[in-house]
Amino acid sequence: MKAYFGRRYTLSASHRLHSDALSAEENRAAYGKCNNPHGHGHNYVVEVLVGGAVDAETGMVMNMADLDAVVRKQVVERFDHTNLNLDPVFSECVPTTENLCRVVFELLAGEVGPAKLAQVRVEETENNFFEYTGQ
């Protein structure tokens, strides 16, 4: 019987949306306020969804304590209260929330066994969010 287990985590970080491939005007046009030179911050919500067989002995897809430990180590400790632009993973790509969502997925994908990572959703504010399913 396949089911899904989801858990929401929060992390606070700053970023600035700016691409070196674009001129100052183009950056301003593409990113607006998000291109302001000194960056700004968000309280991000990272929602992790794992899927798999419900274990007959535990009734669980994955033990929440194990998922918490993985997400804390791989994601929260790495990004919480940091400037995302300074993390090596964002040296080659802009820390938009789309890219953060993909990065979080890649950091967790191999770590949630025996379940499989089904989706990562990152909410940047209450009104915008991004989802990635590894496709």
């Binding site: 089911a3 899904y4 858990r7 985590y9 419900v54 002995e57 535990t58 009734g59 304590a65």
Partner: protein, 176 residues
Amino acid sequence: MGMVAAGISFDSMKLRPQPVKLRAGFRHLSNYEATMVFLTRRATFSASHYYWNEAWSAEKNGQVFGRCANRNGHGHNYTLEVTVSGEPDAVTGFVVDLKWLRDVIERDVLAAYDHRHLNVEVEEFAAGKLIPTTENIAISAWRRLEPAVTAAGGARLSRVRVYETPEIFAEYRGEL
């Protein structure tokens, strides 16, 4: 089952979608091509539970389930999200009537789960049959709802999601 809400017996309540009057200004919307739409109804219930595998020692239960293994139980305000999918009806514009879906959820799930101790009073979990984890609650709620949704025709049950807290949830999509 004699469950009474707002003075109306469920036995007499017509638990099927009811036609509604189409507003004249929206008549053009009935000309669309076949389109699948997902519709979700949310409901809440409060219940107590604990996690315990009878086949294990007390020590192992504590090790695997932590504080959830306290056999005096603890409780949550659960949120249940029921998603059905289908084509909006050409006359009503509804996938299913939300009032009907609310009544089905009330009759088939909330009447059994709300303000109950899941391990003690709810058939599928009682006497150690099934541990009432959030995953198993989602699967059990699906099994309770699926017959009525399927019997009504027009829509199929697509997803049942159960929030144990705002940060913890499980969902079942009918996959084996």
